[in-house]
């Protein structure tokens, strides 16, 4: 079977889910004839028509709110944020209206909000964000953030079928750089389950999205240069977190490094550290360490962006520190 990119895998999932369920429809800015800023929805309007692939005005509040209203009525909207950064513009609608709908009012709100996220692309402060923390912090929402093409497809299908609102982060650095062969048939990856991206004995790196690939690169070099056996856990879903998988790797290696591209303070690494601390304290041979972005709005010039964001060398340095603890 042919390899397809992370981006094509997402598109394939959208095509298949629209074919499977007529209640699935797309809503967003420039997603129709144009196929979206990154062409993720390319071809969908030609196939499924304007009724099911709807170009909206530039109004994230309206787009998310309208999706919620449609979801109440039994539809399965898939909303595109042209850049995930613009979730901020719909923050009230998402965290106050959508996230609480089922709980406060028994209103089903099955919808997906997806879009390109993340840095390493010279996008500057408003086209490179990783705003997952604010949504992981919101009860009622689910958050997924795939690192591989296979997971991108399988998690998108799971997200569309989920009975609650799922925020689907698509790392734009991976869109065309990462490829994979899709498993045959109806490939669905369950939400809430992490993946062991690499088996190891000496220490564990817990991460997700683009930094999974940096962690794997680091693991290779640590194996080659230091003879260290590094396990890499790809969380895949950030809310709900897969505590079992996290605790299992801690118990296995007793040394944990958490890596994320998001800024440090208030990023998800803190939450994971707290959970490990609460549940696996006795299994820790060293403190849980974090490699993250600096607490700085992401600058645009290559030298600056590269400094602010975590790099493979940083992971290697941190892993060595941890191994030597």
């Amino acid at each position: 079977m042919a390899e397809i990119t992370y981006l094509e895998a997402i598109r394939e999932a959208l095509f298949e889910e629209m074919a499977r369920d007529e209640n699935v429809f797309m809503l967003g800015e420039d997603i129709g004839a144009f196929g979206g800023a990154f062409k993720v929805t390319e071809g969908l309007m030609a196939r499924y028509g304007e009724q099911r692939v709807i170009d909206a005005p530039i109004s994230e509040i309206a787009i998310v709110g309208a999706a919620a209203g449609a979801a109440h009525m039994g539809m399965r909207p898939v909303v595109e944020m042209q850049f995930i950064d613009f979730l901020a513009n719909a923050y009230d609608m998402l965290t106050n209206y959508v996230a609480t709908a089922r709980y406060r009012a028994f209103l089903p709100c099955p919808m997906v909000v997806r879009g390109p996220s993340g840095g390493y692309v010279r996008g500057g402060p408003f086209h490179s964000q990783n705003p997952e923390a604010g949504f992981i912090h919101t009860p009622g929402l689910k958050v997924v953030y795939p690192a591989t093409a296979e997971d991108a497809k399988g998690l998108m299908k799971a997200a569309i079928r989920d009975d609650d609102c799922v925020l689907f982060f698509e790392h734009k650095y991976l869109y065309r750089r990462i490829k994979g062969v899709m498993p045959a048939g109806d490939h669905v990856v369950p939400i809430g389950k992490a993946r062991t991206a690499r088996d190891g004995r000496d220490l564990s790196i817990i991460t997700y999205a683009a930094t999974v690939h940096k962690a794997l690169e680091a693991a290779e070099r640590l194996q080659a240069e230091d003879g260290l056996s590094v396990e890499v856990i790809d969380l895949r879903t950030l809310s709900p977190l897969d505590d079992e998988a996290i605790f299992a790797t801690v118990r296995k290696t007793n040394r944990v490094l958490i890596v994320h591209e998001d800024t440090r303070t208030g990023g998800i690494a803190g939450e994971i550290t707290a959970r490990i601390n609460e549940s696996c304290f006795a299994h820790l041979d060293a403190p849980v360490l974090r490699v993250t972005a600096h607490d700085i709005p992401l600058p645009y010039a290559p030298a600056l962006e590269d400094f602010v964001l975590p790099q493979t060398d940083d992971i290697i340095l941190a892993a060595r520190r941890l191994a030597a603890w």
């Binding site: 039994g74 609608m93 009012a105 089903p108 989920d162």
Partner: protein, 383 residues
Amino acid sequence: MARGVAKRRATLGAQGQHLGEALSLERKLELYYWMRLTRTLEERLVALYRQTKVVGGLFRSLGQEADAVGSCYALESRDVMSPLIRNMGAMLVKGATPVEILKQYMARGDSPTRGRELNIHFGDIGEAGRTRGFLGQISPLGDMVPVMAGVTMTFKMRGEDRVGLVYVGDGATSTGAFHEGINFAAVQRLPLVVIVENNGYAYSTPTSKQTAAAQFVDKAIGYGVYGEQVDGNDVLAVYDCTRRAVDRARAGEGVSLLEFMTYRRKGHAEHDNQSYVPAGEIERWAEENDPIDRFVRVLLDREKVGQDALDAIDARIVREIDAATDVAEASPLPQPLDALLGVYADPPAEHPLWFREGADVSSLGRERPEGWGTWDPSKGGAR
């Protein structure tokens, strides 16, 4: 204002209030019933509030009953309406029961939201016939406009003959959500009626500090939608104006923005002493422009209804509310563990945190309401 009305009427061609006049006497008496029920139920809530049986704030629509009742009365039962805090009358017309509302205000465990949300922040939407078609709002103002755009979008997608109606206050028109929602609906030509209830104030803020426009209906042209302004305290005119907009929506002519001129005679909530209101203003509206008094005169003078007939309705309403109050007061309070249920479809319940290990979770997982769940279609309920 007259100028404005004239201009709108002229440019947008409204046609007086004959649709309201044309209602049968029986239906006019229904309008009276809903308005009186609204007022009497609110008075009962005030009594319960004073007895501290109401949890949280109490919001009144005194003097706005015609606006809520007359407009919602223009909808069919299959249509969907989203109210604001002062649209209890619309909720009642759409089938919400006094028992539900009383239980909500008293935060009872078997209230529509199981004690999770306040006052009339509850609803019942979905399939026509199986649901009553009202969608409770959330506190952040304006948010229901985009949401109702989405609800009506499904009507259009499915070719259902259903219409949506959403209320916003004069203050809520200033929100980004209102703007994005009505613009989205207008572009999509959705069957949605947006009603701006201009009651003169947003909390303490007079309309003059909310907009520089001569009138809210002037926003219609800027959204490319049909606009009309009407005397919100004339229940027949309100019905007429809303009905026209609803018919347009049904006919595929898209969104309407209606401005109802009314007045908020009580404070924002019971606690508000209205110190900011010019002396005499409230009294003037109460004496000269009470929507129920006005409609009573129409019924007595023009429709030749006997006072005894109205008294009979009033008496029936008191009986209904007495009965509803007894049911509500006898209803159970929520159990602490109920708090853990239904944040997500899956998992169906959250776990108590470790420092609540003691908590008996055996009772959990029972309650899995399909919908709002407190209303039994078989038993029915108003309309």
